[in-house]
Symmetry: C2
Subunit: 180 residues, 2 copies
């Protein structure tokens, strides 16, 4: 991991992206890093795209706001269109397969995988798409390790859903490793 990585998770409300951000931050802190997790709500938050941000750093975090992200997760086309411009040059885009990614954006590293379809169809639970996405992010970036990510997931998901969420993580790892 670089000294500081800025991650923006975007999609629609109800996709659990704030929880995803909290879990990622908690996994990072469990490894001894610093982390800030945040949501900004402006007038634009009232319709359409939702986002959550995580900054993970080996050092103390002085400036706590994500401007240009190193990694953008886009779970919907609306969110992709809204936030793609905020991805750093050379940054990583992880986009759900349902999204039409512009050829122009291919200058970034782009990983498109069926996160939502895997949640809804393979696991039968659309609500775990956020956890699958965390698995993809882990596999691609290794910003946290698998053990602390799993521990952070299990600490935050509803009791009784532990096995489902562990499976969701594994699906995320596989989506990423089979494509890279």
């Amino acid at each position: 991991m670089d000294n500081r990585i800025e991650i923006r998770l975007s999609g629609s409300g109800g996709q659990g992206l704030i929880l995803g951000g909290i879990i990622l931050a908690e996994a990072a802190i469990n490894e001894g890093n610093n982390a800030i997790q945040s949501q900004s709500y402006g007038p634009e938050a009232r319709g359409g795209a939702s986002k959550a941000e995580v900054i993970i750093s080996r050092e103390e975090i002085d400036f706590p706001k994500v401007d240009k992200a190193d990694l953008l997760l886009a779970m919907t086309e609306v969110a992709y269109k809204k936030y793609i411009k905020s991805l750093k040059e050379g940054g990583i885009l992880i986009a759900d397969s349902s999204i039409n990614v512009d050829a122009e954006d291919k200058a970034y590293k782009v990983l498109q995988v069926p996160i939502i379809a895997t949640a809804a169809e393979k696991l039968g639970k659309a609500m775990v798409a956020n956890i699958i996405a965390l698995g993809v992010i882990q596999q691609v970036t290794e910003v946290v390790n698998k053990e602390s990510l799993e521990a952070a997931v299990l600490n935050r998901v509803p009791r009784g859903t532990e096995e489902l969420n562990k499976t969701a993580l594994s699906e995320g790892y596989m989506l990423a490793s089979s494509t890279f």
Copy 2:
């Protein structure tokens, strides 16, 4: 409400303070304000006190970090001791009744009410202490109105707990109004 208010919610992990911060921010945005909700995790986050922060502003929020808070909620003695120094002079301290508040800190506005006891004993559900606290904060500050706070609460709590959480909000309003 002033143009910008900075709120720090502190206590122990598991008291639902991050969720409390998210709900407060979502209530604020529903009224047309801007809001940022965040958690910072440093090495100190690994033991003891936990905190979540909300900035609510009529204007766009340029500097997204809470330094000195206008309002500090302290749900545990450990959190109180850790964060009291970060309350602005003349700021508001809302502390659970279980906390020994130093006489020296009485320069601040201090409201001590039995948030945790009301949750655990009167409502029989310790987990709604965070929602009671939101009711107290609303009543004291009117930073959001009751309608948007209730809507934001109901949007975030588990299905089936709506009535319990509405009761928790009412208990919070009463705790604050019967003491001020």
